[in-house]
Symmetry: C2
Subunit: 644 residues, 2 copies
């Protein structure tokens, strides 16, 4: 046994001894305040359908082409140059490029759990060697703060992204360890973190700040992986925000960074959206481990702030380009929406923790909303174009889908989400199995009693409402099946082996079916995918008098490409006429489009007038799923449409 492993085992509580391959995206098996427990990524196989197609695209097209781009842009060379000091290779890109590679590594690692690929695994191993060859004996590893910039280490904690990069390194390392059992990268990141634990912390140690929160999440997960409580303690120190004076933080820093003051003093989301949501996600991880009631109160306050006043109908987050920031409550502009892909993903990560803590279906509903819409929009159907921004309206001159961003955070963030996606579908609890999201998939895992359990979901989701779940427990056993009833499914029917269930499904709750389940039992849900108009709170200034159109979990948009008549920005919904749905197998890989006899407003009458705008002209309207905006090339599109 290697000494380092022997050392770790001293700290291991029972649950950390769960084999790495049985650990999920989060390893909550012995987490005291987790009501729900994730299943391993490998336990879920997406079957042909909506998300399988997206996952395949991410794994087959997106992950390999992004690696080539990271090579081309120097992200890997930034490591290689440190192992060969006189190579003459220049440092390229912004100071946080290391994190882009780490996030790509995490995506690639999870993909191996879904689609084993020896060639990719060999590439990952080589990449890890490249990375670790640049690590210093102390454990420090960062390709920016080297050479002439070495003296700047830890002097730019508000902007330097050193801990941000380390956080993503750790997450990649944990993913690769869980999928392959290989711990080389994990040992490397642990070495760096051990250096931090030794030298940084409350006075008299050196002060530390996550200028871009992210390490908090990674530390909590590393604690779960290793059982070393010091990692959680350092997360607690970071969240405690006690270093304002030693680090001379300004009031603006405390808002913008969402760091540097006690997390439990927060009352609203503000500042940089991704920073704030990563901080809250890390704090939720901390709560899950500690049960600190002050954290729980703050987390619930923030979750309510987000869902009641700062989230776009697409699940997107972040209203302002300036500072990539949250806005005021109800400040949810459409064309100007910043809605960074990373922020929508960060919102999902936050809700994932809140769901694990509470089992509250509302969090799963928010995950679904973001996943199908404001996250899904971030990657094109080709898998090679990405959105940094995901606005709710844009013009043909806006270039929103691009193959590369110098700040390349969103592409690998989308990839790691899609690669591991099945793991978001199911959880276990002491008393049973939870089904959060519905798509064709199989689960091959076990109940917490230890009984092996297979489940197969066959569905027409998101286009149809039929969902059939076939259970194959290894033996007859009483447990509860929790099915999420989406908020949009106002009338749901449930059959068990063809007979109506006594339990009444309610939207936005889990339907709990406690039975002695036997192999071959079938539960049939019929979700209500009726097309609905969604109205915003009247305080949302840009959406007043308008509606978005939703069918099942899918938000729709009117794009000029499908509407050769009036400008889409002039289209309005005619409340007298229905909206029809039709599945078009050849459009955008197979989508349900909506058609409607709407109206065209007259926008030719000057900027201001003493008469309200008139809408005398009927106008046929076709709507496509929002996530596919600009997928066929830039064109005017809009989600919110006036209702007349």
């Amino acid at each position: 046994m290697r000494p380092v492993l022997a050392f770790l085992l001293l700290f291991l509580p029972a649950a950390a001894q769960v084999p790495a391959s049985d650990q999920g995206l989060l390893h909550l098996a012995s987490t005291p305040n987790a009501r729900l427990h994730p299943v391993p990524v490998r336990a879920v196989s997406l079957q042909p359908g909506f998300w399988k197609s997206r996952q395949d695209t991410a794994i087959r097209n997106s992950i390999p082409t992004l690696l080539a781009l990271l090579e081309e842009k120097g992200t890997l060379d930034n490591f290689r140059r440190l192992a060969k000091p006189n190579s003459g290779i220049p440092r390229r890109g912004p100071l946080y490029t290391d994190s882009d590679l780490y996030k790509w590594l995490e995506a690639a690692a999870w993909s191996l759990a879904v689609q084993p690929n020896p060639k990719l695994e060999a590439t990952i191993d080589q990449t890890i060697d490249t990375i670790l060859a640049a690590q210093e004996p102390s454990g420090y590893l960062n390709t920016w703060f080297t050479g002439d910039r070495s003296s700047l280490r830890w002097t730019q904690q508000t902007s330097g992204h050193e801990l941000y990069c380390l956080g993503h390194m750790t997450q990649a390392a944990i993913a690769y360890y869980r999928v392959t059992g290989k711990r080389k990268l994990l040992d490397g990141s642990t070495k760096f973190i051990d250096y931090l634990v030794r030298d940084f912390g409350p006075s008299p140690k050196q002060p530390l700040l996550t200028g871009h929160p992210e390490l908090e999440l990674a530390r909590a997960e590393l604690y779960r992986t290793t059982g070393n409580r010091q990692y959680l303690d350092l997360a607690a120190y970071l969240l405690s925000g006690v270093e304002r004076e030693r680090l001379k933080l300004s009031n603006r820093d405390l808002v913008y960074l969402f760091s540097g003051k006690p997390f439990t003093g927060r009352t609203q989301f503000e500042g940089h959206a991704v920073r704030a949501l990563y901080a809250a996600t890390g704090a939720a991880d901390y709560y899950l481990e500690t049960g600190d009631p002050a954290y729980r109160r703050t987390l619930e306050t923030l979750a309510a702030d987000l869902s009641s006043s700062k989230m776009f109908v697409t699940g997107g987050v972040g209203s302002r380009a300036s500072g990539e920031a949250f806005g005021e409550p109800f400040e949810l502009p459409n064309r100007q929406a910043y809605t960074e892909s990373c922020a929508a993903i960060a919102g999902m990560l936050f809700h994932q923790r809140m769901l694990a803590a509470t089992g509250d279906a509302r969090y799963a509903d928010l995950i679904e909303r973001a996943l199908y819409n404001g996250i899904n929009s971030g990657m094109s159907s080709s898998g090679t174009l990405y959105c940094y921004r995901n606005p709710l309206a844009a013009s043909a001159s806006d270039r929103i889908r691009n193959p590369w961003y110098d700040t390349c955070c969103c592409p690998p963030n989308l990839q790691r989400t899609f690669a591991a996606l099945g793991a978001y579908f199911y959880s276990t609890s002491r008393d049973g199995l939870w089904v959060h999201l519905y798509d064709n998939s199989t689960l091959d895992w076990r109940l917490e009693s230890g009984t092996a359990l297979k489940a197969q979901v066959q569905t027409g989701q998101p286009w149809r409402g039929d969902v059939q779940v076939t259970l194959t427990p290894a033996k007859i056993e009483e447990f509860t099946l929790y099915f999420r009833i989406p908020s949009w499914s106002l009338k749901t029917t449930v059959l068990i082996n063809g007979n109506p269930a006594a339990e009444q499904p309610k939207p936005n709750t889990y339907l709990a079916l406690k039975r002695a389940w036997k192999p071959g039992d079938k539960v049939t849900l019929t979700l209500d995918v009726e097309t609905r108009l969604v109205y915003a709170n009247p305080r949302v200034s840009e959406d007043y008098g308008k509606a978005a159109i939703q069918r099942g979990p899918i938000l729709y948009a009117a794009e000029q490409t499908d509407n050769p008549g009036p400008a889409v920005f002039d289209l309005a919904i005619d409340h007298r006429n229905p909206i029809s749905a039709e599945f078009l197998p050849s459009l955008l890989g197979g989508v349900t489009v909506l058609t409607h006899k709407g109206l065209a407003l007259d926008s030719s009458t000057g900027l201001y007038a003493y008469q309200p705008p008139s809408a005398s002209k009927p106008a046929a309207m076709t709507l496509i799923p929002y996530y596919a905006f600009h997928d066929r090339g830039p064109a005017n599109f809009t989600v919110w449409l006036p209702v007349r």
Copy 2:
């Protein structure tokens, strides 16, 4: 005769020989393409009423207190330190503070034309001495690019503001020269400009760029003042935008600066709003002097772009905080509106030139809209608080009115506008007199035939519609009186000496009354100040389904201070109920307030719902003039209200 004066006279065309004291804000007497000609500032006396009160506040409170602040913040010391190199006085403030003092000087100078004040004049003389003591023998004068920064002169033309400061120095110099006949500051600024003329221009001279356009205006006016064509030629060179390569300008520079490419290649307003509008104003001055048809076409294109898609209903301009910039067409957010006071003023300056060129009442209407609303809001009733931003909605936590800004461009810009305000009310043309704006005032000037003419306007504007104009020409003479019929006066009646005029007034045109006018003739206009709902083009996303309320030239706002019931952001107009007007002499110095039995929308129902917002509760509503928002302290307010 001093040599410099003899030199200048060689270049003087006839009109430049008009005495300085007869020259207006613009001196267009011999400008070939000016249809209208300004009257001198001193020729108009505002009489007790709406604008007299604002002008008095600017002159009595605002101008003296701002000088004290400029002293306190080091703006004058920045000059003094250059005359005393070893004084140890530090350079303070951003690099453009010189312009703040120059603009204050211009305001103070114009104020002397309205209210002679020997003490203020002595202060101005001392200030001019302070300024000129810092001027270098070459003519160069800038308090930032001195000492260690001397080597940076002309190396930072996109950001350095050297020409911007010189432009404001020149405008101040011209104002003081026209009001007092004193030319010390004029000689100083001319010396600097002569240095530019000598060393800068097309290759092989050094390249020059107005990184912040402003000098173009000043050069055109200096040409008009001195007759030296070289000054206009250099303005032409700046507008020609030929130095892109020599100055290595990026595409972003060309947009943001609205400079650096040929002005005649512009097709829309974009980039920094004040920069773009100053550039267009300078180009309009250039057109007025040259008649270049390509300039005319571009100016009309830009004017239409502004008024048809980029101007707030308050006359405010500039949609985005980021880059202080214009947005896309119809991007006119309310709370997020940037609407810098300087941009509204710049819009007025642009329209002032377009009005002089065309005599088109639409430009005067836009001047009026901005002046009463989006400019007037910029200075508090105390005269000591200023708005940098003038949004159309704000919360009680927004601190919009402040005594000082480190970028102190708006306060003196407002002051110079109010100090010289009467000069915007009247023009002459070959065939008569034009009345653009209606407030109690007297004009003491002459027709272009040379006949002395007095005119007295007595009116209840802006609260009432009655306007009586009494004419006193020195002799009976046939000429045309042009009265602007505002766009909002849909039904106007006109009496001449008590009898209905044959001519039919049309909104947004000038009513031309050609008569042999004799002393004592009275024209009585009754303008239609009925309260009206104003609707925005449906492309203005935030205003859809809403209306602003206008009465005469005044835009109204609902502020929480007057509305103790529901939150103003929940208020809606009930189209079934009337809006009543009442003059309250004790409120805000005497204003007409509007009251209405409106509705309160229910904003308590979550962020998104499948039902539209309901408005079951009646809610009494009181509205005050928009320009007075936050004048009684910060409070939620909004201009645009849903109509139910």
